[in-house]
């Protein structure tokens, strides 16, 4: 019998699958479990004119905005939660360099549901009077064909490539999620079903036997996955549920460096463009920090 194909590749090879101008969805939610190693590699390779479509975004968009990688962002939120506004995103939008298409939060999820269902739009009845419609020609008003009531057709998310960061996958691309997951992980599952080019970065590549023992938790089976990359601490400085916490010291450093494009240059040199690869990045973060943010998950 022929052996199943391995989809394991390097981060560099995976980023090659995202050319300039790609319509890209990045997994995680707000400041949680963002595929940050992938984002840093996109910047290292100098991607341009990306459109990022999401539900709620933070450091992913902000860092890509700082590096000039973005043309458009379609989401409900770009901010750093307790650290306030995303400074680079804000500056790029205020300078007219970055276009934002605003969507409500649940509607953002509905747009991925539309893509999952193979639909080009999702019907939304509650957008009347909201400027989300005023500034978005892609949202079309239509009468409900059953009742005649006023409805809005909101375009499907329709990403060309989806990138999520998971705890574990095998080399065939079976992706396992913890049973006690939360909204950010469930959002990743939805995104992974909304697109045919799914790239998974994983904390750990596990043997196929591990996958078989956790079959019920394999929400993303191998045939949905195009590439898997082993990237320990791949969401750093954002957290991975049950594995490590947000690196608060690093986030504070990020924010402190974000006062201006100039002041951020040092951060970018040190942590993004300077490191030869992700492991060089982890060396610069240091074993002590990485050990300190490890999470002791429930033993039950």
């Amino acid at each position: 019998m022929a052996a199943p194909k391995s989809k394991l590749m390097s981060l560099t090879e995976a980023v090659d699958m995202v050319p300039d101008g790609t319509r890209l969805a990045l997994g995680g939610f707000a400041v949680y479990q963002k595929p940050m190693a992938f984002v840093r590699e996109l910047i290292r390779q100098g991607r341009r004119d990306l459109t990022v479509v999401g539900s709620a975004n933070s450091y992913d968009i902000d860092m890509l905005a700082a590096a000039g990688c973005l043309a458009t962002v379609e989401t409900s939120y770009v901010g750093l939660e307790k650290y306030g506004l995303a400074r680079h995103f804000r500056r790029a939008v205020e300078a007219g360099e970055l276009k934002v298409v605003d969507y409500p939060e649940m509607v953002s999820w509905d747009r991925f549901r539309a893509s999952q269902e193979g639909l080009k739009f999702w019907p939304i009845p509650f957008l009347g009077g909201n400027d989300v419609v005023t500034y978005n020609d892609a949202i079309k008003e239509f009468p409900c064909p059953i009742t005649g009531r006023r409805m809005f057709a909101v375009p499907a998310a329709d990403p060309q490539v989806v990138v999520i960061h998971a705890v574990a996958a095998d080399d065939r691309g079976n992706v396992v999620l913890p049973a006690r997951r939360l909204l950010p992980q469930s959002g990743d599952v939805l995104m992974a079903r909304s697109c045919d080019t799914v790239i998974v970065t994983a904390e750990k590549i596990v043997p196929h036997s591990f996958i078989k023992r956790h079959a019920r938790l394999v929400e993303i089976p191998s045939y949905r996955t195009k590439a898997v990359v082993e990237v320990p601490f791949g969401a750093h400085p954002t957290p991975v549920l049950g594995r490590y916490l947000a690196d608060e010291d690093h986030l504070a450093e990020y924010v402190a460096a974000s006062d201006s494009a100039d002041s951020f240059k040092g951060y970018m040199d040190r942590f993004v463009t300077g490191p030869a690869d992700h492991f060089d990045y982890l060396d610069r973060i240091g074993a002590k920090r990485l050990a300190a943010i490890q999470d002791m998950d429930s033993l039950l």
């Binding site: 939610f29 707000a30 400041v31 949680y32 709620a56 989401t75 409900s76 939120y77 770009v78 901010g79 939660e81 307790k82 306030g84 506004l85 995303a86 995103f89 804000r90 939008v93 205020e94 007219g96 276009k99 934002v100 605003d102 969507y103 409500p104 939060e105 649940m106 509607v107 999820w109 009845p125 509650f126 957008l127 009347g128 009077g129 909201n130 400027d131 989300v132 005023t134 500034y135 009531r149 006023r150 409805m151 006690r180 997951r181 939360l182 909204l183 950010p184 992980q185 469930s186 959002g187 939805l190 957290p239 549920l241 049950g242 916490l245 947000a246 999470d295 998950d297 429930s298």
Partner: protein, 272 residues
Amino acid sequence: MSAAPATLYETMAACLARDFADGEVGFTGLLTGQAAAIYGTSIPIVAMELARRQHAPNLTLLLAGCYHNPDFSALETMPDSEHDATLRDLPAEAQTYDYPGQWALKRGDISFGFSSAVQVDRQGNINSVCIGPHDRPKVRLVGPILQPEHMTLFRREYIMMPHHERRNFVEKVDYVSGVGYPGGLEGRKELGLDWGGPAWVITPKCIFDFDRERGFMKVRSIHPGVTAEDLQGATGFDLGDLSGVPTTEALSAEELRIIREEIDPRQMLLKH
């Protein structure tokens, strides 16, 4: 129990608690930052817990929109992350981990929620998207987040404003990310909005409610120590004649006792 007089935050919580009905479902986010967290999270939690211990034992509290009636006594400090293991492992009646989840949002399961904004206007529209033109804003803010849903799918909304200045209370918001009452209730109906809209706006100076038929905000009560002149001076639209407006109702001794002894004995939510 501390003999310290009731704080304004405790007073606001008691006012809110009296406005909740038994059996309702209240949705609160987990906000961070001193003033934002107090207005957006701590006061709503204390208010709902107070209502549950008095007239509304069947009220459901949704913390961070996910955690149904969590056991706050099991927390050492208020967490500042919505989606991490601290809240996941907190005992609760139900835990939402997916969308759509337990609550049928679009059928109107959520009775009320709380939102804050950078701008609110006389019609009750709110804005958290931008100041200035949308394509070239003076200030780009975070985005609409869940405001469009809060202001239409929830049965009513309490707008919690930690700052009350002319730049926050404007004649017309620069961007409508949550719809108030343009054209009053009839106007909302024409926009296809079946229910919902802002009920109150709570600020450090006063509580507003709405003439929903005619579609504008009016002062419901002024907090102790705030003059009508102060209030008008800090508001960017005309509040009309304020001479008949009452002072914000004080808490009863029993309400204060429940807050300090039962709900928040460690002052994890509201300090006094």
